[in-house]
Symmetry: C2
Subunit: 333 residues, 2 copies
């Protein structure tokens, strides 16, 4: 559990693309961010109040979150200066970088001296159990994709936000570093030891109120050779009552796999549902989330209408048109 609220560290981010984590926090948990802090040359601006470490501290910030990717795979001296100052002032640090904070001797020393915590969210800190497959109370929804990076996290976050707005009981359950930094907790599933993957998903989505929904962040794809095992653990460990199929219609091949075509939504449905029903016989596919960022508005509307008619399921782009119809579908089961 990462202590909130955060001050978002943008460092010397060359552009907004590099600040994906910070943008996610600003968009989905605005209450978690008291402000932003940049270094000279920063090309990213979240539109939040620019603050010094002292100003943010006075505003209540507990954790300095590295909201940006670093360059060249090192934590630079310029970054270090701010990070160490933050520790000296009583901040915790949180990071999803490949370079771990805990591998930097000066950060470890400063954290020890000042009683701060270094959160490397890429690394599991829990000894997860082996999955037991027992029925859990509460309801769970899992986003599964035809490919990686098609909008599964966005879909789950958008549905959670819509459910909160309606006063429904819901929790977004993060399974990747960005999601963990956004919400402050979760399971870094891609870094879990093979035998404990499904168990870590059970751990993440425990018994809950009968009318509570966990919106589980998906990972990988059952059709992606490199990561399908991770997805499978989500499908079985998640014990989902509802699946959302996620798709990006302009991909020419699977992400990172030139020779591999992207499956159709029908193929995804036919593979994912029987597997999910192994863990929860009542599991249903309730809707389709399409990432239409590379389509014009007209093309998007047409594609969604065609997909909805063909699949017999509500098909929406939650980024473009909101997640309301996906939540309607969830609420109806």
């Amino acid at each position: 559990m990462i202590e909130t609220p955060y001050l978002l560290f943008l460092g010397d981010a060359p552009d907004m693309l590099a600040a994906k984590v910070a943008i996610g926090i600003r968009d989905w948990r605005p209450d978690h961010a008291v402000g932003q802090i940049c270094l000279p040359g920063c090309g990213a601006d979240l539109g939040l109040t620019e603050m010094t470490l002292a100003e943010a501290k006075a505003a209540g910030a507990r954790t300095l979150v590295i909201g940006v990717a670093n360059r060249g795979g090192v934590i630079s001296a310029a970054w270090k200066e701010v990070l160490i100052q933050a520790l000296e002032m009583g901040y915790d640090l949180a990071s999803g970088l490949h370079n771990l904070l805990r591998d930097e001797g000066d950060l470890v020393a400063a954290a020890q001296t000042h009683g701060g915590t270094l959160h490397d969210v890429r690394v599991p800190t829990v000894g997860y159990p082996i999955a037991n497959g027992e029925n859990r109370t509460g309801k769970r929804c899992l986003a599964v994709g035809t490919d990686c990076s098609v909008g599964k996290m966005y879909t789950a976050l958008a549905m959670d936000a819509e459910m909160q707005k309606r006063g429904m009981k819901s929790t977004f359950r993060a399974t990747g570093q960005t999601g963990i930094l956004i919400t402050g907790h979760g399971v870094p599933l891609d870094a879990v030891i093979a035998d404990f993957m499904a168990g870590s998903v059970e751990y993440l989505t425990p018994d809950n109120d009968d009318d509570h929904w966990d919106l589980i962040e998906g990972q990988g794809s059952l059709f992606h050779i490199s990561y399908s095992g991770v997805t499978m653990a989500l499908v079985h460990g998640g014990q989902a009552d509802a699946l959302i199929l996620c798709h990006e219609p302009t991909r020419s091949h699977m992400r990172g796999l030139l020779g591999y075509s992207v499956p159709s939504l029908e193929e995804l449905r036919d593979v994912a549902l029987p597997l999910a029903q192994r863990a929860n016989a009542d599991c249903k596919i309730v809707g389709i989330s399409v990432n239409t960022q590379h389509l014009s508005e007209d093309e998007a509307v047409k594609y969604l209408a065609e997909t909805e008619a063909r699949m017999g399921l509500p098909a929406v782009d939650p980024y473009r048109h909101g997640a309301a119809r996906l939540v309607d579908a969830l609420a109806a089961i």
Copy 2:
């Protein structure tokens, strides 16, 4: 790579059941074992020559392999005495125990002093790549099961032995601790980090001669909630040309999962083949391996004949009747 030949350490094994690893080595790689060494009170006997450390050393032994499960989750003082003596005499040690040799300070110290290596085969020592899904030369056969512990390792070892006997080119590829200790190398798949599972299987089964077969040891089951992600990584990383379906017909439920029924061979076929064809479009199911240990000879013969007729595939128990017909089926594709 564990140096052969071995001296097999049976310790104070209460019975033969506890000596599963040593039995596997004796049965499948008899040339790897110069003899056995017991402690007082040992209830296991492999029928190999009982040797002192010095006698085995003179006979060429390079590694003392712990061929037995330990009691109570500790490496006892009585064991330690022999293990440290072995290191002093220049042996390496190899173990698949949950307690790691490397966590025992006195063993680490003795290994350092005498230049020995401690092989804990439960723990990966390689930085595996992320799977790239590229086509590999050579042929690969994977055993997949309706459940865990239905005879997948035995099936692959028996097929490899039969192929060697026929002068065919084949290699058994171990993916679990027992298999790794039997052959001296492999990937401890259940201990690999999630993102690298499929890549570790690609690493284990690289390009090879066009007429060479890798017999890949299966793990878990696509239908076993706890471990299906591991199996999925094998199915996609293995890029199999041929699958063998493995089954134990008397199970009343999945191993360790009381509420879960065991799927039929038809269900396994219908789930496993399309998934495997994602990695290798030409993949075929070539045969069925049935573990008939709980059936009488008459029952077994009848069950196998009925299964063969129903599935349209050769169905054998390789333990009872040999793996020849499974190898015939492989050779025919």
